[in-house]
Structures are given as C-alpha cells and as structure tokens.
C-alpha cells in the first residue's frame, strides 16, 4: 500500500492552469477512509499545489472535512477511524509508521470550525506551539515570534496592549485570528482550515478571508467551506466532494463558470445540497 505511486496530474483531460504551474505540496492516491464499517471516502486522489488556496466544497457528510483531517492525521484521535491509501506531504508518506505525528502536525497546522483558543493569555496562546517545539532560544526571540505571528494574523494592532489578557475574552472573529496566529507561530508549510468562518459574522468573515489571501503568499492553504461564494472569493482551486468521492477538482474560475461534471453544476446552481 505504501509503495510509491508515480505522481500524475489527476484532473483530465486538461490540466488546470494553477496545477500546471505549481509545485505539489500535498498529494493523495487511492485514499479510503472508514469510520467503523462505514466508508467515508472512496478512492480519493488529489494534487494540491503550494502557495495557493484550495477550497473543498460539497454537501454535508460528503467527506471533505474527513479528508482535510487526514492531511495532518487528526483522524488518529478517533478510535474507529481507518485510513488506507497514500497521502504525501512534500513527497513523504505521512502514514509511514516512521513519521512522527507531532512533527507532522507542526508542519501541517490546523484552524478549526469554532474558534478554540486555550483559556490562557493571548501571549500564551501563540507562544505555546513555539515553546513545545523549541523554536525560540529565549524570551526575546519568543516575543518576536509572537509579535510576527500576531502581525501575520492581523491581530497585532488590536492585541498588543492586552497580551496578558485571556484569549477567550476576545470577540469571535478575533479569537479565530488568534487561532490562525497560533497555527502560524510554529512555522507550518500547510494550513488546514475547517470552515473557519462558519461561526463568524460577515465582517469578521471578510477579515479572515483577506487574511487567507495574504497568507497564500507563503503557505499552502486548504479550506473547507460551505459557502460557495467564499470558495469563489478566496480560492484558486476548488474541489467538489460528493458522497465520499472527489467529483471534480480544478481552477476555481472554471469550476464556477463551466463545470465539467453535471453533479458539480447541479450543486453550484443550488439544485441539491
């Protein structure tokens, strides 16, 4: 199962423009995911390029979040979950027993649906990751990492005077940006976002989307969203999931204007889902 699979472009017949140019950060081949007896993802293969935003869309229960959580092996925490197939990050099989899952998660950060800051100070929230990974040699270095992360997450101006206050005291949108800062602080290469704006109001959502667009310059971002407008706004590539299979994956513009599959079209036009 772990035998190397030749990398190939999946979406045929034409290679999407974004895929053609980029270096692939995450590749998956023949991934099956089971929860107990139930199969959640069927034989999924995908190539996700670096320094771009890929959006996963699809109706509830289609497996998009499940696949997202496979990329940093978050599904390991669910006892009944079983993953087969090959998922590579930077051409390393992440389900290889020799891979240290903690290192993987440092490299593949995650932002969750509901803002979940630690009930600690804002500073501690951001500093926790660098501290356990030994990324900072001293207090000043840690301070720098915290400041840079908060700046990248666009929270520095609002939070710099209240770093010692609990992160749970921030507003929902600020909390989510704090979570993004926390994820950035450990220097990941891939950031997974599982419906990061579903608990936020439109203004906070707009700020997060702006932020995602800025972060695209440096990270490979995968975002699961229920909002097709959001997918259209922030992503370069869109993948449409349905009933555990990847139906279509390609340039966002093409996907929303001229989908190749009928199911995609039906979903995008609101005929089901």
């Amino acid at each position: 199962m772990n035998a190397p699979v030749p990398h190939q472009t999946l979406v045929t017949p034409e290679k999407p423009k974004a895929l053609a140019s980029g270096q692939f950060k995450v590749t998956a081949r023949g991934v099956d995911v089971y929860y107990g007896d139930k199969q959640a993802i069927k034989s999924l293969s995908i190539d996700i390029p670096d320094r771009s935003v890929s959006a996963f869309i699809g109706p509830s229960g289609c497996g998009k979040s499940t696949f997202l959580r496979c990329i940093n092996r978050m599904n390991d925490t669910i006892p009944t979950c079983r993953v087969t197939g090959l998922i590579d990050v930077d051409k390393h099989d992440i389900y290889d027993p020799k891979i240290d899952v903690v290192q993987l998660r440092a490299k593949v950060g995650m932002v969750f649906q509901k803002p979940n800051p630690f009930p600690k100070s804002i500073y501690e929230n951001v500093a926790y990751g660098p501290r356990i990974h030994g990324l900072a040699a001293g207090k000043t270095e840690l301070d720098t990492i915290v400041e840079q992360s908060l700046r990248k997450a666009g929270l520095w101006e609002e939070a710099k005077d209240r770093l010692a206050q609990p992160g749970t005291g921030l507003s929902g949108g600020q909390q989510q940006r704090l979570c993004i800062a926390r994820a950035i602080a450990v220097n990941p290469e891939v950031i997974l976002m599982d419906e990061p704006c579903s608990a936020l109001d439109p203004i906070a959502t707009a700020r997060i989307e702006e932020l995602i667009d800025e972060l695209r310059q440096n990270y490979c971002i995968v975002i699961v969203t229920h909002s097709m407008q959001q997918a259209a706004r922030v992503s370069q590539l869109t993948a449409f999931f349905h009933l555990g299979t990847l139906v279509e994956y390609g340039d966002t513009d093409e996907m929303f204007t001229a989908p190749q599959e009928k199911r995609t079209q039906d979903y995008i036009t609101g005929r089901f889902g």
Partner: protein
C-alpha cells in the same frame, strides 16, 4: 388559529401550581428537620464547651513536694485538704468523701502545672482553680435538676426527736397545718444558719425531717426570712448529686468562688473515663493522620487512574468491565472495606491494629472510586476542542492532556476529591473492623500508634451511661460538623474560584 381550550389551560396551571407546592413542601420539611437536628445538637453540645472550677487557696505543702521533682508531688492531697478546710462543719468519713467527690480526679492538674512552672511557690499559699467533677459541673449548669429557693415566711421551730435520728418541724401549728403554713412539701430542704433538713412528710401528726447538713443543736427557732426552702425538681435518689452536695455547691456559688470558663481542655485532652477530663484532641489528631494517609494514597492513584481511563486507555471490553466495576465499588457498603482491611492489612500483612496507617489505607480504598468517577467527569467536561487545538499545533497527546486538559479539569477534580475526603472523614463503620474503636486516652504520636477518629469517638461517647458524656457527644458532633462544613465550603470555593467558562 385553533380554538382556545380553557379547560386545558386551567388544568395546566393547576398542575404547575401543584408541582410548585410539592417542591416547596419538600424543601420546607427538609429545612425543618435540619433545623431540629442542628438546634438539638447545639443545645446539647454547648455546655460541654464550658467547664466549672472552684477557686481554692491551697498551701503548697513542702512535705508533699520534692522541689527537684515537682511533678511527683501529692497535689491531690493538698487540694482535698484545702477543700475540706472550706467546710469545717463537715464531719465523718462519708460526708467528707461526699465533699471531695465534688472535685475532679484531675482537679490537681492546674496546681501541679503552677508548681512545675514556678517551684518557688512551694511552701506558700496560692489561689488556684480546681476543676469540679462532671456531676458537680452538670449540677451547676442546671442539667441534673432545676432548683428553686424560696425564703421562709413564718417562724420555724425545730425539735430534735429523742432516741431516733430526726427532727420535728413546727410553725405556730403542727402536722399538716404546719406543712401548709410553712409552705413545705416532702423532699424540700429547709436551710438555715447552722444546718439543713430535708422534709420527709407528716407522720403521726408531726411534720418530720432528717438532717442534710449537720445542725447546731442550739438552734431551735428560726425567724421568718432567716431560712430558705430549697426544692429540687428531681428527687435525690434519681440524681448523682446529693442534697448536701448541692447545698455545698450553692454555698460556693453564693461566695462567688465558682468559675465557669471556656473548656480549652476539650480541644487539648485525649479521651478519658472522667467526662470532665475527656477531650477530642486524640480523635482529631487520629482523624487528621488517617485522612492524611487516605489522601496521600487516593489522590495520586485516583487521578492517575482517571486520566489513564479517560484519555489514554483504548475503549474496549476490558476497559468497559473496569469502568462498570469502579462504579460498583462506589456503591459497596463501607463496612465491607473494613472487612477487607481486616483480612488483608491486619491478618495478611500484619500491620498494627488501631493504627491511622491502616485506617487511611481502608479509607483510601473507600474513596478511590469516588475520586476516579469525579475526576473522569471533570476530565470529560473539558471540551474536546481544547485537546484538538493543542494537537493541532503539534502537541503530543500527553502534552495536550497534562498541559491543557488537566489544568482545566483540576477544580472539578479537587471538588470531587474534597467531597470524597469529607466522606472519609465522617466514616465510622470500616474503622470499627480494624480496631480503631478502642478507648485510647493518649494522643496518637504517629501513623502506627493506636488512635481513634472523630466519628468513632462520637460513637464511643454516645454509648456511655454518664449524663455528662451526652453533651460531650453532642459537642464532638458539632466539631465534626464544623470540619465537614469547612471541607464542603472549601470544595464550593474551589469550584467557584477556578471554574472556567468557554
């Protein structure tokens, strides 16, 4: 719009009112029972927090004390002599014994303490408080009998009967008329200067009386206002203080020699067969040591077991079996744990009997399931998003649990633990099985010395016939309740103080 069914609405309102009424009734009943219990205990227990002593001028006899060994002096003899000197009229062995019986057998302790502290007072006369016996103490607190004193209004004539021991009392009249005129009833004590008589009743037309205190034969007539009628609600045969002892105590009281002070002794002394000397220090220290052993064992074991079961153990048949059995253990009657302690710790491992060590081991087993269940509930209450967040930034499972989940669960764990400890603190039955029910007068000095605990002390005292122990029992219950309330208050405080909201 559907038609409004007024009958249904009325029915619903009636049902709601009924439910509120039931709730309020249940609450009121509970509050009433609690109030009765507490009031009764406090009323019974308060007297035990005070002790009565008499101020005596005692000459520290150099013949009885060796200045080099002041502890070994015969202080008992000195205070008894000093006390007898207060009542020179008391003659005869029986009466003198009745007199000194008013003093506690530990009455000389204060004097001994003074002499040991300052041997230079040997040979001098000092004023020292001498503890009274429990019976005298109870009498002075009015717990043996109530006593009324009325001044005599008519002239009283006292005639000694020839040939037999007894007196005839007459006023202006004799017999039943005299009884009425003088306001006397059988069992009343007539007290006058130079003696006291107890009325026995009318016999052969004469109002007869027997001596209570030695009477002066010269006194034959006492004028109105110069004598008293002392009557007791409880007859002499039914109380532990005789009429003469009662009168002596009255005399001391009127002289202002009786001193009622807070009984520090109750908190400083161990158990004793003499109620006035008995204290709860031994039981308190025993309880403390026992609970210390219990907490030292149950807390780390319980929390470790809870963390492992909740966070790390695989969910399979075996962990299910373990979980069910932990819940079952919490429901096992506590005396079974005592039997276990007896069989395993005493008989198999040969640990000492009556020791706080064994008591603590047994109580640790008893509260372990409680602590595990409370800790698991507290760990479960921490939202999984916290664990996910920690794992998401690359913390290992163990880091996530110990750095994020455990600190958040700790207030809940502490609350559960304190409530478990409160249960251990109040537990009696299992300790009976391992011999912590013995009479132990010494204050335990270590984990293996013989000891008893507070609830067992309550149990022991409640079994004793002396009336004075009844208030000691109530007082010990008060102390036990105060400790338990304090523990519960600590639990509530911890919960409120460290509770976090998400």
């Amino acid at each position: 719009m559907t038609e409004v069914r007024n009958d249904l609405v009325a029915k619903r309102y009636a049902a709601e009112r009924r439910f509120r009424f039931y709730g309020a009734t249940a609450l009121a009943l509970t509050a009433l029972f609690l109030a009765i219990l507490l009031t009764d205990t406090v009323i019974k227990g308060i007297p035990a927090f005070h002790e009565t002593s008499v101020e005596l001028d005692v000459k520290v006899d150099p013949a009885e004390v060796d200045p080099n060994n002041p502890v070994g002096g015969n202080y008992d003899k000195m205070i008894k002599e000093a006390f007898r000197a207060e009542f020179p009229a008391v003659e005869g062995r029986t009466n003198q014994r009745a007199l000194t019986a008013l003093l506690s057998s530990g009455g000389a302790d204060a004097l001994r303490g003074m002499v040991v502290a300052d041997p230079s007072i040997i040979g001098k006369t000092v004023t020292v408080p001498v503890l009274l016996s429990a019976d005298a103490d109870m009498f002075l607190k009015g717990m043996l009998t109530s006593q009324t004193v009325a001044p005599g209004t008519a002239a009283l004539h006292i005639a000694r009967l020839d040939g037999e021991e007894g007196f005839v009392l007459t006023g202006d009249k004799t017999g039943e008329e005299a009884e009425k005129e003088l306001g006397l009833a059988p069992r009343d004590v007539v007290r006058f200067k130079g003696g006291a008589l107890r009325v026995t009743g009318v016999e052969n037309g004469y109002l007869k009386a027997v001596p209570v205190l030695a009477t002066d034969p010269a006194v034959t007539t006492v004028g109105p206002g110069q004598w008293d009628i002392v009557s007791f609600s409880v007859p002499e045969s039914n109380r532990r203080i005789n009429d003469n002892q009662a009168l002596w105590l009255d005399e001391l009281k009127q002289e202002g020699r009786i001193e009622n002070s807070f009984s520090w002794r109750f908190f400083e002394a161990g158990d004793s067969r003499e109620p006035e000397l008995a204290g709860i220090r031994g039981a308190l220290v025993g309880s403390l040591l026992t609970v210390l052993v219990a907490i030292a064992l149950a807390l780390p074991l319980g929390i470790a077991a809870a963390i492992y079961l909740e966070e790390f153990a695989p969910k399979n048949k075996w962990t299910d079996v373990i979980e069910v059995n932990i819940n079952n253990l919490a429901a096992v009657p506590s005396i079974i744990f005592g039997l276990l302690g007896l069989a395993v710790f005493l008989n198999f491992f040969g640990l000492p009997r009556s020791a706080p060590l064994v008591g603590g081991l047994v109580l640790a087993l008893l509260v372990l399931p409680t602590i595990i269940i409370a800790s698991r509930a507290a760990l479960k209450a921490v939202p999984p998003s916290i664990t996910e967040a920690a794992l998401g930034v690359g913390a290992s499972k163990q880091q996530a649990v110990f750095q994020h989940v455990l600190p958040l669960a700790l207030p809940g764990i502490m609350t559960g633990t304190i409530l478990g400890l409160a249960r251990a603190f109040g537990e009696t039955a299992p300790l009976l099985m391992i011999g912590m029910v013995a009479f132990i007068a010494d204050i335990p000095s270590g984990f293996t010395s013989a000891a008893t605990v507070l609830p067992v002390q309550v149990f022991l005292w409640s079994d004793l016939p002396e009336l004075a122990f009844r208030s000691k029992t109530a007082a010990a219950i008060i102390v036990l309740l105060v400790v338990l309330f304090a523990l519960n208050a600590a639990a509530i405080y911890l919960r409120k103080r460290f509770e976090r909201r998400w």
